[in-house]
């Protein structure tokens, strides 16, 4: 039997909410697939569109940007800028035909270990049928 496709996902987690939420998932020993490599950034507002393009260019099968819920941003409003920016990036990527499932955004608070687990599980589940992301990755 062919080995099941394991998507490679890069997740940009804000330090104060989503990364802390992922820590809570760990402390609570929740289980989720190991496909995600988190990169903790200070704020979802600091995630430049370039990071996303770069991740897909370097072969990510999926990219997640996760920040604090609206109104909860540690930096007051960084996630609002992120919301706008990411919406545009998402529209652009979908416009050229990248599968919408491949690029996602979520609000995960420091208390939402359960949600983090669910977001990751769902993400991996949705990417599996799509197979490897070859559209934007650098040919090697």
């Amino acid at each position: 039997m062919a080995e099941e496709f394991e998507p490679k996902i890069v997740a940009f987690l804000c330090k104060w909410c989503s990364s802390a939420g992922s820590d809570l998932a760990g402390v609570s020993r929740m289980q989720y697939p190991p496909n995600v490599i988190p990169i903790t950034v200070m704020c979802s507002g600091s995630v430049s569109p370039l990071y996303i393009f770069s991740a897909f260019n370097k072969g990510a099968d999926g990219v997640l940007v996760s920040g604090c819920h609206p109104g909860d941003c540690h930096y007051i409003k960084g996630n609002f800028y992120a919301r706008r920016r990411i919406a545009l990036v998402k529209k652009l990527l979908e416009y050229v035909g990248l599968e919408p499932e491949r690029f996602q955004m979520s609000w995960i608070s420091a208390a939402e270990g359960v949600k983090y687990t669910k977001v990751i599980k769902d993400f991996v589940q949705e990417l599996k049928p799509l197979g490897p992301q070859k559209k934007l990755r650098r040919t090697q």
């Binding site: 394991e6 289980q31 989720y32 950034v41 072969g59 909860d72």
Partner: protein, 648 residues
């Protein structure tokens, strides 16, 4: 080429149980630039730290990565170790292979692979970290306390008595908060006003306290140690220094509105003093209800005011203050009448809330300490107390327990019996929560000495019937339905964050919990701190509390504030934004997005105020020309981390 060391912690079996730590260290040793890689059972232990320190010295490492638990736990530990070995603290980074890896996965091979990527990613980052020293800023050695209830008063007095100047801001015309409305306090039954008023007077007389009543915080900028506050002083239209408290004005005022202090049980005039012991002792003209400023002027009060203390032209004033620390003690309000309709609250005059009943019991209250029901001023003989009115009701009302209601209801019933010895007090309760010094004994006293009848169960309906208030309920212990023809019903209504606290929280940039109470920085370890450094929480603004708890937290918050104010200088994380002026075109987009006003344009280029910058990086994602970036989390670093994360 920089020399990197990698240390992989087993954390007992916490990591080693799911991650092949030997393999991680072996793989990392092949990573370009990594000259030392090893694993150890507990890296955070003293011997573990010594291994790191020795390796840094012996192998002349330029930077190290510790693959271990979350950076929230031991980043400081390992950075201190790195410092001991002569590195800059930023030459140490953590790869979180426990919370984000070993604890959440079971498949050893895959978890190991992920741990390798996480660690490589941290290596790519640390190799590009700049050594940075904390930014030092002087401290403004004054404090702001927001809220003049018992918590705010306690904080202000503690700070002032330590020798620091305090600005105490209160929204109402007088300080005192809800405590000054209470009759007696549990479990000692000492008179609330008697213990409160001396503190109020002390505040008003204290040379270090600048009291600003009828004022609201309008804007806050700055950062720990150096906040700038704009305070709106609402006009009282009465010059306190001229007012002789002769009370002639209230006699001529034609307006009658419900009296806030007595919670609508009595009326007051448009010009009024909230209560006799008010601090500051002066009258206030309630402009919303005064016809004096309408086109057809009334002006009666000015006519009778001999000292000429009333001035309709008084204008709001903005006062700017600089402080180093802020204590937020905005207190609570009772659950809104409109939201709690099922008990006839707001519909029947003899259904009261706890605070109204306090006023009825109070010697200075509307009935001069006699328990008389509002509708007909007769002495109620059957009184039903309903606990958890709005609390512990996740479906309809508040999910949380308001904590103090069990105790004050026992007190209410007991005091009622003292006032009306031949009356009967019934208490419907779900549980009795009487944890606290002498609290349980107090409840027992109510039952045993004063014959208060506790009924375990919920009230299903409250309605008026032939001059009585019928209360239908159930006694779940006896297993029977209960019907009481009550003369009065007293609700132990839920405590809510005080109105407007949410707006203030937003101005202060401090978070709120799901119920709107101000969020502490950590539920266990930082109960006094807000998430914004330099701002502390006191009293019921943070969660329902009784008086001793509020006072204790207030003193604690004052202590925390003092720990800042007692320093000459504070140190600020140096991971702030920096501008490449060669690339900056001065478009100002970063200036617009900065949440801290730390960026400004000067001569067509952006400048960073490093003290204001919190390093969130929103500017760098906004900049189209990569002209601004946050130190040690630069786009270059992130890009290298992305590569490492994807195995490249």
């Amino acid at each position: 080429m920089k020399r990197t060391g990698v240390f992989v912690c087993h954390c007992g079996i916490n990591i080693a149980g799911t991650v092949d730590v030997k393999k991680v260290s072996e793989e990392l040793s092949k990573h370009s630039g990594v000259v030392h890689a090893e694993d150890y059972i507990y890296a955070c232990s003293d011997p573990g730290q010594n291994i790191i320190i020795d390796a840094i010295k012996e192998k002349k490492l330029d930077n190290v990565v510790i693959a271990c638990c979350s950076p929230n736990l031991h980043e400081t530990t390992f950075r201190n170790a790195a410092k001991t070995a002569g590195l800059n603290e930023f030459q140490c980074e953590i790869a979180n292979i426990r919370e984000q890896c070993s604890w959440v996965h079971k498949d050893m091979e895959k978890a190991t692979d992920k741990a390798i990527k996480l660690t490589r990613s941290a290596v790519q980052r640390v190799r590009r970290n700049e050594p940075l020293e904390p930014i030092s800023v002087p401290v403004t050695r004054r404090a702001l306390v927001i809220g003049g209830g018992i918590a705010g008063i306690q904080s202000a007095l503690d700070l002032a008595n330590t020798g620091f100047e305090v600005i105490l801001v209160e929204r109402e015309p007088s300080i005192g908060g809800h405590m000054i409305q209470l009759s007696e306090t549990f479990p000692t039954l000492d008179c609330s006003q008697c213990i409160m008023t001396p503190k109020m007077v002390e505040v008003s007389k204290h040379p270090k306290i600048k009291l600003m009543t009828y004022s609201e915080v309008q804007e806050i900028s700055g950062y720990v140690g150096n906040f700038k506050v704009k305070i709106l002083k609402k006009p009282t239209y009465v010059y306190a220094d001229k007012c002789t408290l002769c009370d002639e004005c209230t006699k001529v005022c034609p307006v009658a509105v419900p009296d806030e202090f007595n919670l609508g049980l009595t009326a007051r005039r448009a010009i009024y003093i909230p209560f006799p012991q008010a601090i500051p002792a002066t009258f206030t003209l309630d402009i919303k209800n005064c016809p004096g400023l309408l086109p057809i002027a009334c002006g009666k009060c000015t006519d009778v005011c001999e000292p000429g203390a009333i001035d309709y032209d008084m204008k709001p004033e903005i006062v700017e203050e600089e402080v180093g620390a802020i204590i937020v003690a905005t207190g609570y309000d009772l659950y809104e009448k409109e939201l709690l309709t099922e008990y006839g609250y707001g519909k029947y005059p003899d259904v009261l809330d706890g605070l109204q009943f306090e006023r009825l019991l109070s010697a200075s209250g509307p009935t001069m300490g006699k328990v008389l029901r509002p509708s007909d001023h007769k002495e109620p003989k059957e009184v039903v107390f309903i606990q958890c009115a709005g609390s512990r009701d996740p479906e309809l009302h508040c999910a949380y327990c308001s904590k103090i209601c069990c105790m004050y209801t026992a007190k209410h019933a007991m005091l009622y019996k003292h006032h009306v010895p031949d009356g009967q007090a019934y208490i419907f309760y779900i549980d009795i929560r009487s944890g606290g010094k002498d609290y349980e004994e107090f409840v027992q006293r109510a039952v045993e000495d004063d014959g208060v009848l506790y009924l375990r169960g919920k009230v299903s309906k409250v309605f008026e019937d032939k001059g009585k208030i019928k209360v239908w309920g159930v006694d779940t212990l006896a297993g029977k339905d209960i019907e009481i023809d009550a003369d009065m019903v007293v609700l132990a209504t839920a405590m809510r964050p005080s109105k407007g606290a949410d707006e203030l929280a937003r101005k202060l940039k401090i978070a709120m919990d799901k119920d709107g109470f101000l969020a502490e920085a950590h539920p266990k370890l930082k109960p006094l701190e807000s998430v914004t450094s330099g701002m502390f929480l006191a009293g019921a603004a943070q969660a329902p509390k009784d008086i001793p708890e509020a006072v204790a937290q207030a003193s604690g918050a004052a202590g925390k504030a003092i720990s800042i104010l007692s320093q000459e200088r504070l140190y600020h994380a140096p991971t702030v934004a920096e501008v490449n002026v060669n690339l900056c075109t001065g478009c100002g987009m970063c200036v617009q997005v900065c949440p801290y006003d730390s960026l400004s344009l000067k001569d067509g280029k952006v400048e960073v105020n490093e003290v204001l910058c919190e390093g969130c990086g929103t500017c760098s994602a906004t900049c189209l020309r990569a002209a601004i970036q946050v130190k040690n989390m630069t786009p270059l670093q992130v890009n290298e981390m992305i590569k490492a994360a994807l195995g490249g």
